[in-house]
């Protein structure tokens, strides 16, 4: 599978294919909001007013991605979102509770369904093709990606638009903070991974990709393989899954030039990564990415974008703090783990 194009709205200056993280944005506090583009270029002004932030981010990221691929009508549109359209859900729910189920307007409800973004993209493109939405926590993006890869493999599609979208709202941030996910200090986000303590910072993003089954001159990278595993029993189980993944893909550990891992600065969460870094991954340069985008269930989509750009640029941006620069950048392994229960592996290679 070939990664033909990308479109990524994130808490960094990632949109629009500029230099890769040359001027990283250092956020303060436990909430990393996306840097949003001017939507007028991508969405009808009348629609912009009606759409919530996550819908705008999703539609714009997808549009930018299709534009880069010069693709008008993908053979499939597949999205992943763990939380869905939280803002619209919260608006409708809030009014319903406050107004005791009376005098409600439909707009927020209509836009609250989890397939809204994929549907809006299809609507904008007038695309009648395959359209699916995965909503499974830390596997939402990975499931969408698997669906996309299978569609290409089955021969039912030549080009698939696949992406992930999640947003932070005031309500979700308040609830997840109460659940103990986030730090309470004024953390500088770029130092998140070097100051391990209790809690991480919230993130969000909209990252889309065009996957193609045939190579072209303008591909970023190859997506070789994907594997997910759920609630592994411990370190041995994790190492077994990683070992089996590499075996199945015919890749040895020493073939891997860089590991992008899902550490998030929460000491409890990062223990797994530290153990692997000291053990199985000992001789491989590695870098985290969540100091750039924060922690959220579909953060692996940001990691795939990052791996894709690094392969294309053949350069690791300084903000990743990789101590030992690899001699070549031909293969990157992305290992993410959301809340220690949802683990995923992605193998990205140079074309």
């Amino acid at each position: 599978m070939y990664i033909r194009a990308t479109g990524n709205i994130s808490p960094q200056e990632s949109f629009g294919h500029g230099p890769l993280l040359e001027t990283p944005v250092d956020h303060r506090g436990n909430r990393l909001n996306c840097i949003e583009p001017d939507y007028k270029e991508f969405i009808d002004v009348k629609l912009i007013r009606r759409m919530s932030r996550i819908i705008k981010m999703g539609v714009a990221a997808a549009s930018e991605c299709l534009r880069e691929a010069t693709l008008k009508n993908p053979d499939a549109i597949v999205t992943g979102t763990a939380y869905g359209c939280l803002e619209d859900t919260g608006i409708f729910l809030g009014r319903m509770v406050e107004q005791q189920e009376t005098l409600l307007a439909p707009t927020a409800f209509i836009q609250s369904t989890h397939n809204t973004i994929g549907a809006q993209i299809a609507l904008q493109l007038q695309c009648n093709n395959y359209n699916n939405a995965f909503v499974h926590r830390g596997f939402s993006f990975e499931s969408a990606l698997l669906d996309a890869m299978l569609l290409l493999k089955e021969g039912d599609a030549q080009h698939v638009l696949v992406g992930a979208i999640d947003e932070i709202t005031n309500a979700s941030h308040a609830i997840l903070t109460r659940m103990g996910l986030y730090r309470h200090d004024n953390t500088a986000s770029l130092h998140l991974l070097t100051t391990p303590q209790k809690g991480t910072v919230a993130g969000e993003g909209a990252a889309f990709f065009v996957l193609a089954n045939a190579a072209s001159a303008t591909d970023y990278a190859r997506l070789d393989a994907l594997h997910t595993f759920y609630k592994p029993a411990g370190k041995e189980a994790i190492e077994k899954e990683i070992g089996r993944f590499l075996l199945n893909t015919g890749v040895g550990l020493n073939d891997i030039d860089l590991i992008i891992d899902g550490r998030n600065g929460d000491a409890r969460h990062d223990a797994t990564f530290n153990e692997l870094e000291a053990g199985l991954f000992k001789d491989i340069p590695s870098a985290g990415f969540k100091h750039l985008c924060g922690e959220y269930p579909t953060a692996s989509a940001f990691a795939l974008w990052l791996a894709t750009r690094i392969i294309k640029d053949e350069q690791i941006p300084a903000v990743l703090n990789v101590a030992k620069q690899p001699a070549a950048l031909k293969k990157i392994l992305v290992y993410n783990n959301h809340l220690n229960s949802h683990h995923s592996l992605l193998l990205v290679s140079a074309c």
């Binding site: 409708f92 729910l93 809204t116 549907a119 009648n128 909503v135 499974h136």
Partner: protein, 399 residues
């Protein structure tokens, strides 16, 4: 890639019964499950009939084995998925690469609604245990953990076509040799969020719904769960009973017309049905029964009917909407109606489309109004169309 995918078991819970067998008996007896709201605590109690599962949360907790206080959607899902797995007679799921692909529309919203009452005026209030399973995927994982399934778990949410898509995706994971056994389907409990949402769209009938009737006024919401156990040929060969039904066709298309309304000519519906036929290698004349999406709204029934006319004219298979029994169960309907479609094949019967008085003038066909028995049906087409233009059709065939 075209390896067969067999149905080894089914499980269902809906307003007309708490098991596959109970649902079948009600379908045969024309016993609809729609009625006055008893369990959902809504101000619309006296105006809007609904199709509730006739058990309280406490009773569901006893039946599902889940701790009380958990989302009703997880309870419904656990009951139906456990039935499906037991019915399949597979034994220990750990001997195979087993997946659980579920679907729902609003996750644990039934509990989030309670949480919001306290949370809204004061964000430090509200019991976190009422919101911890808000995510669609959280509900799926409660059920997966009950089933002991770990190898592959995911959730699909494409509004009313959600669980048709989960069955479809499960079958593809088997065909691609990623999994051997998949429990696939979906669950949704009634919530105030959904009831009020549909109410603002003014598509709820204040009387019992009348799908495919000229004078239809809207849909009745329902709740439930439906799952099938999909198995590969290799697994099927180890079972005591040879599976009698396979999933032979499926297709997903998008109407790309409007966020909530279907196009007048039913473009998405047509593409889904014709694509499923193509996948199965069948002609329209091979279909013996269509389990209609048939919600009872003006818009759905004319769009679906027009697409059927375009595809099947002049020879129409028997048809009916079992939503006349179960109401519209949203994220669960593709799963529940898959179970009903499989039972139609196994029993040689077609269910009645209840309360149909005046056939739609614009359509050259009329769904069955009485139970039809003793028919040799070889292929059933099951339609699930939803918000966002998401349209999916499945075809179940006799082996």
């Amino acid at each position: 890639m075209s390896a067969p995918v067999f149905i080894a078991g089914t499980g269902a819970i809906s307003a007309i019964g708490h098991s596959t067998a109970a649902c079948l008996a009600a379908l045969k007896n024309e016993a609809a499950g729609i009625g006055e709201m008893r369990y959902l605590d809504s101000v619309h109690r006296d105006e809007l009939p609904v199709a509730e599962v006739k058990l309280s949360n406490e009773e569901l907790s006893l039946l599902s084995g889940l701790a009380p206080g958990i989302s009703r959607t997880a309870e419904l899902g656990t009951i139906a998925a456990k039935e499906a797995l037991e019915n399949a007679g597979i034994g220990d799921v750990a001997q195979w690469r087993t997946g659980f692909i579920s679907a729902n529309s609003v996750g644990g919203m039934d509990k989030t609604e309670n949480f919001y009452k306290a949370f809204l005026p004061d964000p430090t209030k509200g019991r976190l245990r009422d919101v911890v399973n808000h995510e669609c995927g959280a509900v799926t994982e409660i059920v997966a953990d009950q089933l002991g399934i770990k190898d592959y778990i995911t959730t699909i949410s494409t509004a009313c076509s959600s669980s048709a898509n989960s069955i479809f995706f499960g079958a593809r994971l088997i065909r691609n040799n990623i999994l051997d056994v998949v429990v696939a389907g979906g669950a949704d409990a009634l919530t105030k969020f959904t009831l009020n949402g549909f109410n603002t769209l003014m598509i709820l009938d204040s009387e019992y719904c009348k799908p495919f009737d000229e004078n239809r006024k809207g849909l009745n919401l329902g709740e439930g769960a439906g799952y099938v156990v999909l198995v590969s040929e290799k697994v099927a060969a180890t079972l005591k009973e040879n599976p009698s039904v396979k999933l032979s066709g499926y297709c997903n298309a998008n109407d790309a017309y409007h966020q909530t309304a279907s196009s007048p000519d039913g473009t998405g519906s047509y593409l889904a049905m014709s694509g499923a036929l193509k996948r199965a290698g069948l002609q329209p004349a091979d279909i013996g029964y269509i389990n209609l999406h048939g919600t009872g709204t003006q818009n759905n029934d004319i769009a679906e009917g027009t697409a059927i006319k375009r595809l099947f004219d002049p020879r129409f298979p028997m048809m009916s909407s079992t939503k006349t029994f179960t109401g519209h169960t949203l994220g669960a309907c593709g799963g529940i109606e898959a179970v009903f479609s499989i039972m139609a094949l196994n029993n040689g019967i077609v269910y009645p489309n209840l309360r149909l008085e005046t056939p739609m003038a614009a359509l050259p066909f009329t769904p069955e109004t009485k139970l039809v028995t003793g028919v040799d049906i070889k292929h059933v087409l099951s339609n699930s169309f939803g918000f966002g233009g998401n349209c999916s059709s499945l075809i179940f065939s006799k082996v």
